[in-house]
């Protein structure tokens, strides 16, 4: 990797990224109104760039599926459904007026009708069905894990089964079992989850600092 000091283009990129990151970080710890104003502008720019990226992504998806639908391949039907869904959501979310107390108005957020209605009637039942499928997938995975005989997989399955059984209504009424489950949740489960969380937090901190001081430049086109 070439040093940014020897490459003016990289140096400018590193300076922009580092100074922007530092300003937002200083605002996070409360460095004053001047820093806060600049940080808000930077965050708004980031949001705008994200919105443009999403728009490019939407266009890309649209044209890929339009091409596939025209090619009349085996998956053309799915592409047509996707295109129809995309058009319905965009029209419902942007252009479809609804009657309010002050007259007709266009939806301002995704939580407004009619897009909320579209999500409630189509998306939510689909998502719920897929979530329900997870229990069958879990059963299938569990049976395969038991057949494979891998110690860690068998251990996970055994613990999951014990956790399920001891949470059945008749058993939760037995005082010592309820207290034991609570103790396991409060100490063992919480300790494991916090350990993972700490590892992730340290990883995020190191990745952030290295980006800030220009040791890592995933944004630089070398």
């Amino acid at each position: 990797m070439s040093s940014p000091l020897r490459n003016p283009r990289q140096l400018i990129t590193v300076l922009i990224a580092g100074v922007s990151g530092l300003i937002v970080l200083l605002d996070f710890v409360g460095a004053g109104p001047a820093v806060s104003t600049i940080a808000v502008v930077l965050v708004r720019w980031a949001a705008l760039i994200t919105a443009i990226a999403v728009a490019i992504g939407v266009l890309s998806v649209f044209f890929v599926h339009l091409r596939r639908a025209r090619s009349r391949s085996a998956e053309a039907g799915y592409s047509l459904v996707l295109l129809a869904g995309m058009i319905v959501v965009i029209v419902a979310g942007i252009f479809y007026p609804t009657r309010t107390a002050t007259g007709l108005s266009l939806p301002t957020t995704l939580a407004d009708p009619p897009i909320r209605t579209v999500f409630r009637l189509i998306y939510e039942p689909l998502a719920a069905s897929l979530l329900a499928l997870l229990s069958f997938f879990a059963l299938s995975a569990m049976l395969r894990a038991m057949r494979s005989g891998r110690i860690e997989a068998v251990f996970v399955v055994a613990v999951a089964l014990i956790a399920l059984i001891i949470q059945l209504p008749p058993l939760t009424l037995v005082p010592i079992i309820g207290q034991t489950v609570q103790w396991v949740n409060d100490y063992l489960v919480a300790a494991g989850a916090r350990g993972l969380l700490l590892g992730s937090a340290i990883g995020a901190l190191v990745a952030g600092v290295r980006l800030l001081i220009g040791f890592d430049m995933p944004y630089a086109d070398r």
Binding site: I56, S60, A141, M142, R150, L198, I213, F215, D216
Partner: protein, 264 residues
Amino acid sequence: MTLPAIFLIVTLIFVVALVWLHHARALSGRLPERRSLPALDMLRSALARSAETGRPVHLSPGASTIGAGEGQRASTAELLAGLSMIGQAASQAAAGGAAIEVSSADAVAHLALRGVVRQAYQTLGQSQSFDPRQIELWAHADAMAYATAVAAHYRQAQLEASVLSGAFGQEVLLAAETGAQRAIPQVLGSTHPSALGLMIITTPHVLAGEELYAAEAHLTTAPAPQARLLTHDTLRTIVIWLMLIAFGYGLIRVAFGWPALPGW
């Protein structure tokens, strides 16, 4: 300025100093011996096989979103770790002539992936082998839809292996179980306990917790990832020691009548 703010700035300065120190150490080649990660050994061998069979290796940085805020399950850090890992896998694919296909569930991540994979091919002088159609956007900000898309892809494509490593929740089972049923070798990685349990019963090749952040350093000998891993390990050791000291203090403070630590 408040006390937490001062603490944060002091911590930041300390971390910056550690990063400089370890970067210099990595450049001088003084690196400790590492344990091997079987999941990454599997990825290496899958890339090698792919060069012979022509079947692609599917790579995914997870259903993460760049800029995911507090309280959201996805995290930017996991996505960055996934991007780094995919960059290294792409470099190995470019060097060995293996085929890869990359998918994501975020429009910004999709653009970042294109950049990372293109750079990997470009750095090795294989620009002509890079095809932007290798990188596809299968969903946006919807982990369930993305997992379903991966499962559908598993049913259609002949894959050499698949890597799903990043911010995944329990919905990963939709894809992972389909992959297991079709005997696709999989590397699965996450930092979420709800996903890790399901990953462990689906495949023997799991990257758990911070192994996700160590993956890049295991795939390359370049100094930057080694320095990142060294800093990561040092900070983790410091945190463990601080917790042990606080625990010890908590045990003996009653005997000496010392005050309790805040929050303990």
